[in-house]
Symmetry: C2
Subunit: 236 residues, 2 copies
């Protein structure tokens, strides 16, 4: 197996914590609405609103905030208070300003890998938010490119690989989402490492493609250099 | 003067109508709140909220929607109805789905220029919204790159020029905003063509840098090929 020309990383919940910000915002949201409905129903309606709004608003915190507001109006039949709406907007601002906390092993592994491979980041979400988190993460210097994309489909990956002149079989993607980081890359003939995260949004879940060529799963990012060594030896 | 290696265009209100969508949304917003305040005060508070929120939410329709909601809560001291909040969110969805209407001369001029120069688009706003408008505009095939950026500062332009290996003095930017499309490009030693648009957001206004080398102003995009011919002759 040839060494990789580019290793790309997802950012949210691969390099740094993210989903727990959403979980905590959702807990506050449920608390706001608990006089109207039970928690499970609130969660289900919010999720449905988010999915319906993806085509309008895309991914990210601003989209999530608009979906929370829409769900709050709907679930209270318009009786939500202005004060509660203000709190939802305030929650969104706090999420956007939250400290960027790297996941375990990231601070050690990324600099080591950057000496051996060109690295890039491929992430969804709001442009300004992702750029700001990258700047605050202390990792920016290790990545040659940061690509914020509106969705992570096979077509989007194909365009990125073409733009950067990377042959798919020399490309490795590392991330926590089977749906966004693994399956579309394998479909293009690339390799992908799934590093599961304790919290993963239901929308990102999929069946692991066990046994498919190019698919690897690791418990945490600290194991990535060892996997790359093993793959290089197999190729030798 | 050397011919340009790259001509870049702003998108909103340079290639297609945009600000009038905001103006019409703002008119609906004022109508919602007219029982509470007079129009001028509503406009002023909305503008202040938008400016304060730029650092959190950046540019684009989602950010505008969140600022309208925040302003509505504030100006009604929390008495805004759920129904009115729903209407603001609905307005945002309609803006995102609005027909892309090219400005005069764009459909004729862009294909002609694309035969003579590499063209690209550099635009602010939401990634998904800008990609979707570009796809619907019918112009995508004429642009080698579409760059959606979180802000149009001198630093952002410097990074883009480096990324695409374009020397500043061989770069021409065309757009309707002096603040975003003209001044930062001139500061880098590039050239810029200002094509004013009837509606320009107050935040984008600035003093025209008349007489500064590399600065040009045109009444409409139809005059751009003639300007490029004149500049090429001066350089010969």
């Amino acid at each position: 197996m040839a060494q990789f020309e580019m290793i790309a990383f997802d950012a949210d919940d691969t390099l740094w914590h993210n989903e727990r910000l959403y979980a905590s915002a959702q807990a506050r949201f449920k608390h706001l609405l608990m006089q109207y409905h039970d928690g499970e129903w609130i969660e289900e309606r919010l999720y449905q609103t988010e999915i319906n709004n993806l085509k309008h608003f895309g991914y990210g915190i601003k989209s999530f905030a608009l979906s929370m507001i829409e769900t709050a109006v709907e679930l209270t039949e318009g009786r939500i208070s202005g004060q509660d709406i203000r709190q939802i907007i305030q929650t969104a601002k706090e999420m956007l300003g939250a400290e960027v906390e790297l996941l375990p092993h990231v601070a050690e592994v990324i600099p080591v890998l950057a000496e051996r491979f060109p690295l890039m980041v491929i992430t969804k979400g709001d442009l300004l938010d992702q750029e700001s988190k990258m700047a605050r993460s202390g990792l920016a210097a290790y990545f040659q490119h940061v690509e914020v994309v509106s969705d992570k489909t096979e077509g989007q990956y194909a365009r990125l690989l073409e733009k950067h002149s990377i042959p798919p079989h020399r490309f490795l993607m590392v991330g926590n989402s089977l749906r966004s980081d693994v399956l579309p890359v394998l479909a293009l003939g690339g390799s992908a490492v799934h590093v599961p995260h304790a919290f993963t949004w239901a929308h990102e879940e999929a069946e692991p493609p066990r046994g498919q060529p190019g698919f690897h799963a690791l418990e945490h990012l600290g194991l990535l250099p060892g996997l790359l060594d093993a793959l290089a030896q197999q190729g030798a």
